[in-house]
């Protein structure tokens, strides 16, 4: 053992080097402008975009350490606000309620959606007003004002909206494209209008994993919600521009104070078991959700909060009274899966297992439940007594296939029609786009990628730093590196999803690295030690900022002068690192020589 002692000492020394080297670099007051950027390891778009951002920021003197983490590690850190910056996709749905969740200070709790800890009392006030009025136009105007303020503050940088890339097997025609793509829980039109030229009457949609939970009250993921959107009807549906269209309700009125919504139901609507659907069922559904505090469904969280009472003056009229007005109340109540009272009044636990589906899965939608073979497939059949236009297909099968590659092979063979989620891997998208055996459909997806800052953590507490980063990022380059599977956005409310809810005149940060550098200098960042990374040194930055062009020539002189009184007597960084390095090298060589001699 003794013989190897020197070796162990050597190893220990090698481990210690980095600890010795780093603190010697700059004085404690002159903090380097660097941060850790978390990206989601399994999301190729997130990782690639993160790497491009790191390179772009390096050019303006910001050091970014990209760490690709698994969600089990990354999400808790975001929840606890224990991070510098993160870049990944967030999701949106047809109503921009996320606008409140992401920017209102009340949402900055552990796990809250205001993950950037953004606090602006003025924005809070505007959001409170916007989300408690029934007047849509007034709400829009408040949205615009809030968005302008937010864009000025840059709590995070919106990068791009991902594209939903779908491939259909040959012969299939007539799908409907809308935000979130041709196959999504908001798209009730595709399964009805799609048809096959060669007369195939079975459409097969691939799911990457099981569709559970099958209960429309517990469904809380895109797979389950899509299944529910086929089997259950809603009062309204969406047109390709996400405008509400009549569905179970043939018309509706909203009172002037925005606190009462009256739905007029279609007549002669039947449940899959043949019983008639009446206003009683609708009222029952709303009350059930509220009483059981149901966690699934699309907008149930808002429904529970808003619902005061439901009246059913006659079999085909439902009057909903709200506790307070809400600009999106029509969607909240309109896009709720309606369940049959005669079955659900016996169900105490709404979160029932899939084995109960043959008994419980009765809806009124265009397709009815046939069977579910666990882990394999879920079979639906056309409901011939449906009130609307009969779907062209007779059967719809949801098939579970794990791998994207084998899914595409099965689509090429015609065994599978298409898939539930758009393709995520740029490599596959590239291959699919040029495959003559496939029909490729591209739409706006519901995932918006953003670069988020922890606004409570230095240096992101400084507004100029956030703005400078916004100027320093070239979104065009990012999207190009991602093979064009994103659509650049500068808005915090997406025009592509919400139309005129987005502020068209929001301040934009066009790519401008010079401006970024200037902003950083104004904020007190200068490259003190000449390593290409800026340090926070307001004393050195301020006196020499008459104009951007001059500082370039002044900079060399800012390196040498004696340290300001506030900094400790430590000499500037690079020399010290060099000294430390040389010393350590000498020690290693000496130790090695000693060890060899001993042998």
């Amino acid at each position: 053992m003794n013989k190897y002692k020197p070796l162990f000492i050597l190893l220990a020394l090698l481990l210690i080097i980095p600890y010795l080297a780093t603190p010697l670099k700059a004085s404690p007051e002159e903090k380097e402008l660097k941060f850790e950027l978390m990206v989601l390891s399994w999301d190729g778009l997130s990782v690639t975009a993160g790497e491009v951002i790191a390179e772009q920021l390096k050019k303006v003197g910001i050091k970014v350490e990209v760490s690709a983490l698994d969600d089990a590690v990354m999400y808790p850190r975001i929840d606890k606000r224990d991070y510098d910056a993160e870049e990944m996709a967030y999701g949106v749905d047809p109503i921009p309620t996320y606008f409140y969740d992401r920017f209102h200070s009340s949402q900055d709790f552990e796990g809250g959606n205001n993950a950037w800890s953004y606090h602006n009392p003025e924005v809070d006030k505007l959001l409170d007003q916007a989300f408690s009025t029934g007047d849509v136009n007034k709400a829009k105007e408040l949205f615009h004002r809030a968005e302008a303020l937010i864009a000025e503050d840059v709590p995070y940088i919106p990068l791009f909206l991902a594209k939903d890339v779908h491939a259909f097997a040959k012969g299939w025609k007539n799908w409907t494209v809308m935000p979130a793509g041709p196959i999504s829980p908001y798209n009730k039109l595709t399964p009805i209008y799609i048809y096959n030229e060669d007369g195939k009457d079975t459409m097969v949609i691939r799911y990457p994993s099981a569709p559970e939970p099958l209960s429309p009250m517990a469904a809380d993921n895109g797979r389950a919600l899509y299944y529910c959107s086929l089997v259950y009807d809603t009062l309204i549906a969406y047109d390709p521009h996400l405008k509400p269209i009549p569905w179970l309700a043939k018309s509706w009125e909203i009172s002037d104070d925005g606190k009462t919504i009256t739905f007029h139901l279609r007549e002669g609507v039947k449940w899959h078991d043949g019983k008639p659907l009446t206003s009683e069922d609708v009222a029952f559904t709303f009350n059930y959700i509220k009483e059981k505090k149901v966690t699934g469904g699309i907008y149930t969280v808002h429904l529970i909060r808003l619902l005061d009472s439901v009246e059913t003056p006659d079999e085909h009229t439902v009057v909903v009274h709200l506790k307070s007005p809400f600009p999106f109340a029509l969607h909240v109540f309109g896009y709720t899966f309606i369940v049959p009272k005669h079955i659900w009044e016996k169900i105490d636990e709404y979160d029932w297992p899939a084995s109960k589906a043959p008994e419980y899965a009765v809806g009124s939608g265009p397709f009815k439940f046939v069977k579910y073979v666990e882990g394999e497939y879920l079979e639906l059949a056309r409901f011939d007594d449906w009130w609307g236009k009969k779907p062209n297909i007779k059967r719809l099968i949801i098939k579970i296939i794990k791998e994207d590659e084998s899914t595409i092979l099965q689509i090429k063979k015609g065994e599978v029609t298409t898939f539930r989620y758009g393709l995520m891997s740029p490599g596959l998208i590239k291959a699919v786009r040029k495959d003559p055996d496939l029909q490729v459909v591209e739409a706006i997806d519901q995932w918006d990628y953003l670069l988020a800052f922890n606004n409570k953590r230095w240096p992101f507490t400084i507004k100029e730093v956030r703005q400078a980063i916004a100027y320093a990022i070239d979104k065009k380059e990012i999207v190009k590196k991602l093979l064009d599977v994103g659509i650049i956005t500068d808005n915090y409310v997406f025009e592509q999803w919400y139309g005129d809810w987005a502020n068209p005149n929001v301040p934009k940060y066009e790519y401008n690295p010079e401006k970024a550098k200037e902003l950083l200098r104004k904020a007190g960042f200068v490259d003190v030690d000449g390593d290409g990374i800026l340090e926070y040194a307001p004393e050195k930055a301020k006196p020499t900022t008459p104009s951007p062009t001059k500082t370039q020539t002044v900079q060399p002189t800012t390196q040498k002068p004696t340290p300001t009184p506030t900094t400790t007597e430590k000499p500037s960084g690079p020399d010290m690192t060099l000294v430390a390095g040389v010393i350590i090298l000498i020690i290693i060589v000496l130790a090695a020589l000693w060890y060899l001699k001993k042998r």
Partner: protein, 326 residues
């Protein structure tokens, strides 16, 4: 130490190990990063009271110590809790259903076939040691053993599933088919099993082949082999009656170790072919942080390994008397 005492001691140590595994199994998932409440109550917009109701349903509102006691008590009642991802379905049902059968059939048949082929090839190779056939077999087994199974599976899918259209690409049965008889169902199932089974057999052969070959080479140096040859017995009898039987001893322990595959499945192969077995279930449960299911599978796996080891120990003791006193 008599045989009975030996068995009793083995049994006792197995039981202690099992209890330790049960305890470890509970805490190891709580130490892992990630919060189980996040899996069930993932929506940040959920109202606090909704969150509480959800936590209560899965018993996550209780302190850890309480959860542990509950886990132990329920475990001995055969209740492994509710799955997070297959919401509301008991873990026992999730594990002991279709998935268990899928994995058992796939792994059982693959291991059996690989064992027979590997051992036969190993015996022949050992007998013709140094010949071209031997070297070719070694190279073949090293290559197949090192090929990643997912790649192998994808290759099979591409060639035999897509271009030649001989085997189905994914699943265990054809979707949306009503079977008239059980035999129709069985035929369809077996047709789907060809792909994953061939993949697994190819990847397992190498291991068994090399083990058998080495084990036999050891046996060949024994005196009784010389005697057998001297007696003028036929090559066949010498190989399969004298040598192979004695070389089987190390294979017993290998087989005992392979019992665990019956429960763990082969995640990569199952994923590539969407063969819904326990391996795929483990993978999905990890991704979705479905701790109850993971706990359940690990308990079954531990039970299988312990039982197999115990049986192997006993069989060894029966076969080879020296072991009892070792």
């Amino acid at each position: 130490m008599g045989f009975k005492e030996y068995v009793a001691r083995r049994l006792l140590s197995s039981l202690v190990t099992f209890f330790l595994i049960i305890v470890l199994n509970f805490f190891i998932f709580r130490i892992m990063p990630g919060d189980p409440t996040r899996t069930i109550a993932r929506d940040a917009r959920l109202l606090p009271e909704q969150r509480e109701l959800l936590k209560k349903r899965f018993g996550l509102d209780r302190p850890l110590w309480d959860q542990f006691i509950l886990y132990l008590v329920n475990l001995f009642r055969g209740d492994l809790g509710l799955s997070f991802q297959y919401r509301g379905t008991p873990v026992v049902e999730v594990i002991l259903g279709r998935r268990m059968l899928n994995t058992f059939l796939l792994m059982g048949s693959s291991i059996a076939v690989a064992l027979v082929i590997g051992m036969t090839l190993g015996t022949i190779a050992a007998w013709k040691r140094g010949s071209k056939a031997d070297i070719a077999a070694i190279i073949f087994s090293l290559v197949t053993y090192s090929i990643p199974t997912f790649w192998m599976g994808m290759l099979l899918i591409l060639v035999f599933g897509y271009y030649l259209d001989w085997i189905p690409i994914s699943g265990t049965i054809t979707t949306g088919v009503e079977y008239q008889t059980f035999w129709e169902y069985a035929a369809d199932y077996l047709h789907h099993m060809v792909g994953p089974m061939v993949t697994l057999v190819i990847s397992f052969i190498g291991y068994h082949f090399l083990l058998m070959r080495n084990s036999l080479l050891d046996v060949f140096t024994e005196d009784y082999m010389l005697t057998a040859i001297a007696k003028g017995l036929s090559t066949r009898t010498i190989l399969f009656k004298h040598a192979m039987r004695n070389a089987l001893l190390p294979m017993i322990s290998v087989m005992a170790l392979e019992v665990v595959y019956l429960f763990s499945g082969a995640t990569a192969t199952e994923t590539v072919f969407t063969w819904q077995g326990l391996g795929l279930l483990i993978y999905e449960s990890v991704v979705k942080q479905d701790y109850p299911v993971l706990q359940g599978i690990f308990i079954f796996m531990a039970l299988a390994v312990l039982t197999a080891n115990f049986v192997a120990d006993v069989v060894y003791a029966l076969v080879d008397p020296r072991i009892r006193y070792g």
